[in-house]
C-alpha cells in the first residue's frame, strides 16, 4: 500500500487536486445547476470515452495512432442516421458493396483449388486492370444525389420510384461489380500463392452468401425501405446502433487489412496514411450525403411529451418515457441518460473482455510485447485486425449515439477526434483506465465551460461578469492538456518511458 502511494504520488496528488477543484467549482452553483453540469459532463464524457477507448487500445497494442478515428465516428453517425431516417441509400448501395466483397472473397478462397493461371506477373497486372475496369463500368453514372435527398434538402424529396435505378440496370451493376471482385480476388491470390490454402470451405460459403444476399436485396429495395420505415422508431434506433457500429467495425477492419498492415515496417507512414484517409473519407461523405448536416429525431422511447412530463424520477420515466427527467427541480433530457448508460455499459463490457476473456488476455499480453505473443504461436496480425475493428466499432457506436444529441454533419468527426486526442494525452496512451479517466475529465471540463458561457464568470475585481463565446470553452480543454504535459508528460495513467 505504501509502495503504491510512493510510486503514484503525482497521480494521487493530481486526482485529489482535480476532485477538490471540481468540488469547489460545483459548490459555486445551486445544487440543481451543479447536478445538471455533472450530468452533461458525464454525457460528453461517455461519448468521448467511446472514441478514446478504441484509439487507446489500437495504440497500445500496435503502436498505430489512428487519425481516421474521428472519421469512423462520423461514418457511424451517418450510417445510423441513414438507416433511421433514409434507408434507401443503404438499400441501394449495400448490395453493390456486398457483390464486390463477395466476389473478391469467393475468388480469393477458390483460387488454390483452381488450375494455376499462366502468365505470372503479367497476368496479375492484367487481372488488376480488369478489376478496375469492371469497377468503373459497374459504378459508371451511379447517382446518389436523388437517393440522399430528403424533405429538407434543396431540391425537395425525390420519390423512391424515381430516385432508385430500375431492377435490370441495378442487377447489371451487381454483376459487373461481382466480376470486378472476382478478378481482384484472383489477382490477390496470385500475389500470395501460399497463403490461406487450408482454410476449408468457410470463406467460400461466406463469399457465396454475400453474393446471394446482394442479389436478394436487389429486387426487394422498395419493399425493404417500407419495412424499415414501418418499424417503430425505437426498434429502428436499435437497428441503427447495430448497423452503425457494424459498418464502422467493417470499415476499420478493411482499413487495417488494406492500408495499415503493409506499413508495419514504416510506422510514420501509417500515421500519414490515416491522415490521407481523413481527407478521402470526409470528401466521400460530403459527396454521398452532401456538405450540409442532418438532424436526427430522438426515438419515441426518449421523446414523449405530456402533462406528466418531465418525469419526477428515473423509475417513473421507465413508465412514461418523457423527453426529460426532473433532476433537483431542473429538467434533464432523458436521451442523455441513455448515452451515459451506454458509455458505462461499454466501459464494463470492454473491461470484462480485457480481463476475463482469452482474446482480452492476448490483447493485454500484446500491449506488453507483441513479438513475444507472436512467438508463442498466436496469430497476432489477426488480433490486430480484430482490435482495430473493435475500436472502430466503438467509435462508430458513439457516432450513432451522438446523432440525435448533436446532429450529423461532416465536421463532427474532427471535433470529436480533437477532444479524444486531448483525453488520450491527459489519460495516458495505451491505458484503458486512463482513456476512461481522460474522457471523463474532458467531458466535465466541457460541461463546465458551457455553463460558464451561459452565466459568464465573475472575477473578484470586476463589476460585471466576463462573458465569452462557446469557442473559448472548446479551446480551453487544450490548456488542460498543456498543464498535464507540463506536470506529467506521459499522462495521468501512462507508463513511464
Amino acid at each position: 500500500m505504501t509502495n503504491f502511494l510512493k510510486q503514484n504520488r503525482p497521480l494521487i496528488i493530481g486526482s485529489l487536486a482535480a476532485v477538490a477543484a471540481m468540488a469547489w467549482a460545483l459548490s459555486q452553483y445551486e445544487p440543481k445547476v451543479a447536478a445538471s453540469i455533472l450530468l452533461s459532463g458525464l454525457t460528453l464524457g461517455a461519448l468521448y470515452f467511446l472514441v478514446t477507448s478504441g484509439l487507446s487500445l489500437i495504440f497500445g497494442l500496435m503502436d498505430v495512432l489512428n487519425f481516421a478515428h474521428g472519421l469512423l465516428f462520423m461514418v457511424g453517425a451517418y450510417m445510423g442516421y441513414t438507416l433511421y431516417a433514409n434507408p434507401r441509400i443503404l438499400l441501394n448501395t449495400l448490395p453493390l458493396l456486398l457483390a464486390l466483397a463477395g466476389g473478391a472473397i469467393l475468388a480469393r478462397r477458390a483460387a488454390p483449388m483452381l488450375p494455376k493461371i499462366p502468365g505470372g506477373q503479367a497476368a496479375r497486372w492484367g487481372l488488376w486492370a480488369l478489376a478496375v475496369a469492371l469497377l468503373l463500368l459497374g459504378s459508371w453514372g451511379f447517382d446518389l444525389a436523388p437517393l440522399a435527398s430528403t424533405g429538407i434538402s434543396a431540391g425537395g424529396d425525390v420519390p423512391t420510384a424515381e430516385a432508385q435505378e430500375a431492377l435490370g440496370l441495378f442487377v447489371g451493376r451487381l454483376l459487373a461489380l461481382a466480376a470486378s471482385g472476382i478478378a481482384g480476388g484472383l489477382a490477390l491470390a496470385l500475389g500470395q500463392p501460399f497463403a490461406g490454402r487450408s482454410r476449408g470451405p468457410r470463406g467460400l460459403v461466406l463469399g457465396a452468401g454475400l453474393l446471394a444476399l446482394a442479389l436478394l436485396i436487389a429486387p426487394a429495395r422498395t419493399l425493404g425501405e417500407g419495412a424499415i420505415l414501418g418499424l417503430s422508431s425505437n426498434l429502428r434506433f436499435l437497428i441503427a446502433l447495430v448497423v452503425g457500429a457494424g459498418s464502422g467495425a467493417a470499415l476499420g477492419g478493411l482499413i487495417e487489412w488494406s492500408l495499415i498492415r503493409p506499413l508495419y515496417s514504416r510506422p510514420i507512414y501509417q500515421v500519414l496514411v490515416t491522415l490521407g484517409l481523413v481527407l478521402v473519407g470526409t470528401e466521400l461523405v460530403k459527396g454521398v450525403w452532401g456538405p450540409t448536416g442532418y438532424y436526427m429525431d430522438t426515438p419515441d422511447f426518449f421523446s414523449q411529451r405530456g402533462e406528466a412530463c418531465p418525469s419526477p424520477n428515473l423509475v417513473a420515466w421507465l413508465g412514461d418515457h418523457c423527453a426529460s427527467i426532473d433532476v433537483l427541480g431542473r429538467p434533464f433530457p432523458s436521451y442523455r441518460i441513455f448515452i451515459i448508460a451506454l458509455g458505462l455499459i461499454m466501459f464494463a463490457a470492454i473491461a470484462v473482455l480485457l480481463r476475463r476473456s482469452r482474446l482480452g488476455m492476448i490483447i493485454r499480453a500484446g500491449v506488453q510485447d507483441a513479438e513475444m505473443v507472436q512467438a508463442l504461436g498466436i496469430n497476432v496480425r489477426r488480433v490486430f485486425t480484430m482490435v482495430f475493428a473493435l475500436g472502430a466499432g466503438l467509435a462508430a457506436l458513439g457516432g450513432v449515439a451522438a446523432a440525435p444529441f448533436i446532429g450529423v454533419n461532416p465536421g463532427i468527426g474532427q471535433e470529436f477526434q480533437l477532444q479524444a486526442f486531448i483525453a488520450v494525452v491527459i489519460g495516458g496512451m495505451g491505458s484503458y483506465g486512463g482513456a476512461a479517466a481522460g474522457a471523463l475529465l474532458v467531458g466535465l471540463a466541457r460541461a463546465f465551460g458551457d455553463q460558464i458561457v451561459l452565466s459568464g464568470i465573475q472575477l473578484p475585481f470586476m463589476a460585471e461578469a466576463v462573458k465569452f463565446s462557446p469557442s473559448i470553452a472548446r479551446a480551453s480543454t487544450v490548456l488542460i492538456m498543456a498543464l498535464v504535459l507540463l506536470i506529467r508528460p506521459t499522462g495521468l495513467f501512462g507508463k513511464k518511458d
Partner: protein, 341 residues
C-alpha cells in the same frame, strides 16, 4: 577562392533564370501584354507555388531533416497571415514592421509550442501539436475577437501598400515572391549544411546516440521548430498579401495536410523536394479542380495514399534512388540503338 559549382547548382541557376524569364516568355507565346490576361494568370499561379514552396520547405526542415512529425504546422502559417493582417489593418504599421512582428510572434509561439510539445515524442507529439493548432483555429473562429480577427469571415480587406499590390503590380509581386522563395531556400540550405543541421539529421537518425555524444537534443529540436516556424509564418504573411485577407482555413487541419502532401509527394529529407511538391500540388490541383469540380481533394487524397504506400520517398527521393540506374539504362539503350544503326 573559387569553388567548383556542382551540376545541380547550374541546374538551379538555370531554373531561377527560367522563372525570371517566364512572364515575358508567356507574353511572347500568347501575344498578350505581360500585365494582363493569361501571362498575369500564370504569374499568379506561380506566385502561389513560390509561397507554398517556402511553407512546404519549412515543414520539411522539421519532418524530413529533424524527424519531428508535427501535425500543427498550419498554426505558424495561419498566425503569420493574421499577424500581418492585424498589423496592417488595425495598427496601421508599415509592411517591414509587420514582417518584423511576424518574426517576433513566430519565435515566441514556436518556443511555447516547442517547449510543451517536445516533452513528448513520436506520435504523442503529432497529437499535441494538432491540438495546439486546433486551439488557435477555434480561437480565430471565436466571435469574442470579431473586431480583431473577423471571426468566421476572416480578416478581409487588408490594406496592402500599392507598390506591391498583387492585383495592380502583379509582375513586381511575382519577382518579390520569387526573391522571397530564393532567399528562404538559401537560408534553409545554410541551416541544413551547418553543424546545427548535421545535429538535426543525427537526431532524426538516432536521438539517443546524438544525446550520448553530448548534444542537448532538446535545444536542437527547439531550434528546428523555431526556424521552421518563422519560415512558415513568413510564408503565411506573403499568402495574406497575395490573398488580401487572412482566413480561418489557413489555420485549419487542411493547411497542415497540404504541407504533408507537398512534402511527401516531392520527397521528404531534401529541400528541393517539397518545393517541387508545392508546384505539383498547385498545378495538379488547378487541373483537377477544372476536371472534377469541388470534390477534387478526393482524387488528391487517393493519389496521396498511393504515394505513401508505393513511393515513400517521393519524386526527389525516388529519383535519387533510381535515377542513376535509369540514366545508365537509358544510355545503354541509346548505345545499342546507335550500334544497330
Amino acid at each position: 577562392m573559387i569553388r567548383k559549382i556542382p551540376p545541380a547548382g547550374w541546374a538551379g541557376a538555370a531554373l531561377v533564370a527560367g522563372l525570371c524569364l517566364f512572364p515575358f516568355a508567356m507574353a511572347l507565346i500568347t501575344g498578350q501584354p505581360v500585365g494582363e490576361g493569361a501571362p498575369k494568370f500564370w504569374q499568379g499561379m506561380l506566385i502561389q507555388v513560390f509561397i507554398l514552396a517556402v511553407y512546404a520547405m519549412s515543414y520539411d526542415l522539421l519532418m524530413g531533416y529533424t524527424g519531428i512529425l508535427s501535425f500543427g504546422h498550419a498554426l505558424f502559417f495561419g498566425t503569420g497571415s493574421y499577424v500581418l493582417g492585424m498589423m496592417l489593418k488595425h495598427a496601421g504599421w508599415p509592411l517591414w514592421q509587420a514582417a518584423l512582428m511576424i518574426v517576433v510572434v513566430a519565435v515566441a509561439q514556436s518556443l511555447i509550442v516547442g517547449v510543451l510539445s517536445l516533452r513528448v515524442s513520436g506520435v504523442y507529439l503529432t497529437m499535441v501539436t494538432l491540438a495546439f493548432a486546433q486551439m488557435f483555429f477555434i480561437l480565430a473562429e471565436a466571435t469574442d475577437f470579431r473586431e480583431w480577427t473577423g471571426a468566421e469571415d476572416g480578416l478581409q480587406g487588408i490594406p496592402i501598400p500599392s507598390w506591391i499590390s498583387p492585383t495592380d503590380q502583379r509582375l513586381r509581386f511575382y519577382f518579390v515572391a520569387l526573391g522571397f522563395a530564393l532567399v528562404m531556400y538559401l537560408l534553409a540550405r545554410r541551416v541544413v549544411s551547418s553543424p546545427t543541421g548535421a545535429v538535426m539529421v543525427a537526431i532524426r537518425e538516432n536521438e539517443p546516440r546524438a544525446r550520448m555524444l553530448g548534444y542537448n537534443t532538446f535545444v536542437y529540436k527547439l531550434i528546428a521548430i523555431t526556424i521552421s516556424g518563422v519560415m512558415a509564418a513568413l510564408a503565411g504573411g506573403m499568402n495574406a498579401i497575395w490573398n488580401l485577407n487572412a482566413n480561418t482555413a489557413m489555420l485549419g487541419v487542411g493547411t497542415t495536410i497540404n504541407a504533408l502532401l507537398m512534402t511527401i509527394i516531392g520527397g521528404a529529407g531534401s529541400l528541393v523536394g517539397p518545393m517541387l511538391g508545392a508546384g505539383v500540388l498547385q498545378l495538379l490541383g488547378y487541373w483537377l479542380n477544372a476536371a472534377f469540380g469541388p470534390r477534387w481533394p478526393l482524387i488528391f487524397g487517393v493519389v496521396y495514399i498511393l504515394i505513401v504506400l508505393f513511393f515513400p520517398y517521393g519524386l526527389v527521393g525516388t529519383w535519387r534512388l533510381r535515377g542513376a540506374g535509369l540514366l545508365a539504362l537509358w544510355r545503354r539503350r541509346l548505345g545499342e540503338a546507335r550500334q544497330q544503326v
